[in-house]
């Protein structure tokens, strides 16, 4: 019953996305709720620590209702940027605009933050602790209690209320922290490496919760090294390296722009295609029913040309374009 609702919601979400792409502007404005709004815009942020410049003129925009991936190697400046958005520190110059207003202390309760280095008070009971944290975010005791019960029920934690944090495993603690992050229904949720410490089952559970909240309109900023989860979840990304933003945009666009006319083809037959006018062979290997070629098209040719060249000579089993993964793009850009 429960999983079916999720599936339905996810389907709706996918439909919604597709719908979005094909809608014309008029419908967008007429329906209004589908309008893209900038929730958060970071403008020319500079943050200098004594001898080290953590952020150097970084600007980016996060659209409302999207999942935004903030990527970068260790020490690139992601955490510094997140700390500025959560108002833990202030930038030396530049500004942050949240929902059209300059970021101020009223926004603290509209943001939920799950830091990478996260912990809980070890001697406190779980329920009491989450209650305390959510009251700090401005919830009343009765409202917070109601919501905690709801979330504990939802994430199979109902019996944990009186347990002490030190009696929980790391994965269980992560769940508690996740609940504490989302409990006050923030408009923007910032998750720093949210899946570290989770087993696959719980990681999936949390991922579904993220998608469900996102479908309801919550915006996410998502900082991680795990590129597969970026491809799975993120709509847009920004890549930060050595304190500077070096890449940003929609995941699909970025991946498309990194296509470089590379394909793999599998065929059965003896013909040698190593030297031909259409493409340069990058790799050859033997597969079960023949050979596999990885090649790059020469200027002015398409995959169709390759097919019509090869079809008469061999039996084609598979032809696929090699689309670089976010992982490859990440490594390529950061190595530069």
């Amino acid at each position: 019953m429960y999983s079916r609702t999720i599936v339905t919601k996810m389907l709706l979400y996918l439909l919604f996305k597709k719908h979005f792409t094909f809608c014309n502007l008029w419908i967008l404005f007429a329906t209004n709720r589908l309008k893209t709004l900038t929730m958060l815009s970071v403008k020319n942020i500079v943050k200098q620590y004594a001898t080290h410049r953590a952020l150097d003129d970084v600007s980016l925009e996060v659209e409302q209702g999207k999942i935004f991936g903030l990527l970068g190697p260790n020490g690139a400046g992601k955490t510094s940027l997140i700390r500025i958005i959560t108002q833990i520190t202030a930038p030396d110059s530049g500004e942050v605009i949240f929902n059209g207003q300059k970021l101020n202390s009223n926004h603290i309760n509209q943001i939920g933050y799950l830091p990478e280095e996260r912990g809980l008070y070890k001697k406190m009971e779980i329920g009491e602790q989450v209650l305390y944290l959510s009251k700090l975010k401005g919830l009343s005791t009765s409202e917070a209690t109601k919501r905690i019960k709801f979330w504990f029920e939802k994430l199979d934690m109902a019996t944990w209320w009186n347990k002490k944090v030190e009696d929980l495993s790391k994965g269980m603690q992560q769940k508690v922290q996740f609940v504490a992050t989302v409990l006050h229904n923030p408009e923007l949720i910032i998750l720093d490496e949210p899946f570290s410490g989770f087993d696959p089952v719980n990681a999936d559970l949390i991922k579904n919760e993220i998608l469900e909240l996102n479908a309801k309109g919550t915006t996410f900023i998502f900082s991680t090294h795990r590129m597969e989860s970026v491809e799975e979840l993120c709509d847009n990304i920004a890549l930060i390296d050595k304190s500077k933003k070096i890449l940003d945009g929609a995941v699909d666009d970025i991946k498309a722009s990194y296509r470089n006319n590379t394909y793999v083809i599998e065929y059965a037959g003896d013909t040698d295609f190593t030297n031909n006018a259409l493409f340069d062979v990058l790799e050859t290997s033997d597969v079960k029913d023949g050979k596999c070629l990885k090649f790059k098209l020469k200027e002015g040719y398409t995959a169709n040309d390759v097919l019509s060249e090869m079809l008469p000579k061999v039996r084609i089993n598979r032809l696929a374009e090699v689309i670089p993964s976010m992982n490859d793009i990440f490594i390529e850009r950061v190595k530069k």
Binding site: Y49, A50, R83, T86, Q87, I88, T89, A90, D92, I108, I111, Y113, L114, P115, E117, R118, G119, L120, Y121, K122, L133, L136, K137, Q177, A180
Partner: protein, 423 residues
């Protein structure tokens, strides 16, 4: 612990009273005296601590039978030159304590002096008249101009108790603040917390919270210690002693006493009665209120520094190097207050110690029972308040940076850098 501590304190209090009244009086050492001195024919007079029994046996034979006999010690007085007493021996089955040693040598010295005095022609009656038991009745002119019975003893006891308690409280709760900060830092809850509250709020919340715990505990201790002590006194002091105190003071108050009677009463009462009377004259309520003020301010002053230390380190083992500079002034204040200040509560050392905010919480509560001019008290309080505002401001600037620094071994230089960081 909250409920146990007053019990322990009361227990100590009771034990001290018990031993000071009963313990020493109880045990009377029996000393066999072998006198071979031809000149010292007068006998040593027994008193409540030592009983002298003159025996005719030889020293050697007594030594052999000492274990079986009911004597504790043998005192051997050889036939020495009266001007150069030498060769006196005290032998016992156990080592004689310093006090016994002192008492016996005092008695012998008295004996020799009496002998010499008599030889120079002073009669026994004159000799008896020369002896006097001096008991000084200390009084001071109070704020109201009236003479108040005071006792240096009572003031010193209060001063010591207040000084020790103040030192203990500041240390105890200051370190508790530091531990709390380190715990938040190592458990990494800090990042979650400061995305909801400002570092300054978090730091002050912790400091004030622990202050409230401390205050509650302190008040609880006072109430429990007083009530349990009252109980302990009635249990530990045996009925006769208590009766004596009660009857003698009743006698004094009932008979509208003349000066002589008061003196007599004071004599029988002993030091204890005097201290009790003086205690009533000390303004305990004022002392407790001022103590609470200095506890809160002194605690704020130091706990802010402790919070800054806690924020700079990753674990408790790293705190050592920073604890020293914070501990030193407190320790110095403690040591000087309990030695120099109790000896000379109005001297310049006492004055300056009770003005400098690093030492004033301890120095001032130690001075208080002896009486402190109102303007000095006000000035000291004012400086301390300025002082803790200063340390809190200073600590907050280090704290806000320190709590987010991991894995970096903080040095004083590093902390100075943090201090100047913009936000």
């Amino acid at each position: 612990m909250t409920f146990l501590t007053p019990l322990i304190i009361a227990g100590f209090y009771g034990l001290i009273i018990y031993f000071s009244i009963k313990g020493i009086n109880d045990k009377t050492d029996k000393v066999a005296v072998v006198n071979q001195n031809k000149t010292l024919t007068e006998k040593l007079t027994s008193n409540k601590n030592v009983t002298y029994v003159y025996v005719n046996d030889s020293f050697e034979s007594l030594k052999k039978t000492l274990k079986k006999s009911d004597y504790d010690y043998i005192l051997y007085l050889p036939d020495f030159d009266i001007d150069k007493p030498a060769g006196i021996e005290l032998i016992g089955t156990k080592q004689a304590g310093l006090s016994l040693d002192g008492r016996i040598s005092d008695s012998i010295e008295d004996l020799i002096r009496d002998y010499k005095l008599k030889k120079s022609g002073i009669s026994q009656t004159d000799l008896d008249n020369l002896k006097s038991n001096v008991k000084i009745d200390t009084k001071k002119i109070g704020d109201t101009g009236k003479e108040e019975n005071s006792s240096a003893g009572a003031s010193t006891i209060i001063a010591f108790v207040a000084g020790v308690l103040m030192f203990m409280f500041i240390m105890l709760y200051g370190v508790q603040v530091m531990r709390g900060v380190i715990e938040e830092k190592t458990s990494r809850i800090i990042e979650i917390m400061i995305s909801s509250v400002k570092p300054f709020q978090l730091m002050m919340g912790k400091i004030i919270g622990i202050a409230m715990v401390g205050l509650t505990q302190f008040l609880l201790w006072i109430v429990l210690t007083f009530s349990i002590s009252a109980l302990a006194v009635t249990v530990f002091i045996n009925k006769d002693d208590a009766q004596k105190i009660v009857s003698s003071s009743a006698q004094v108050s009932a008979a509208n006493p003349s000066a002589q009677q008061v003196q007599a009463a004071a004599m029988t009462n002993g030091p204890l009665g005097n201290i009790q009377e003086s205690l009533q004259n000390l303004d305990l309520a004022k002392i407790i209120l001022v103590f609470i003020f200095y506890f809160l301010s002194g605690y704020l002053f130091y706990s802010a520094l402790y919070a800054a230390i806690g924020s700079a380190v990753d674990s408790e083992t790293e705190t050592q190097q920073f604890m020293m500079p914070v501990m030193m002034p407190l320790l110095l204040g403690y040591a000087l207050s309990l030695s120099v200040v109790t000896n000379d509560p109005y001297g310049s050392v006492a004055f300056w110690l009770s003005m400098i905010p690093f030492t004033s919480p301890i120095a001032m509560v130690v001075r208080l029972p002896y009486g402190v001019p109102a303007w000095e008290l006000a000035l000291s309080m004012f400086i301390l308040v300025i002082g803790f505002i200063g340390t809190v401001w200073f600590a907050a600037r280090i704290y806000r940076v320190g709590i987010l620094m991991y894995g970096k071994k903080a040095s004083v230089k590093e902390m100075a850098k943090w201090f100047w960081y913009k936000n």
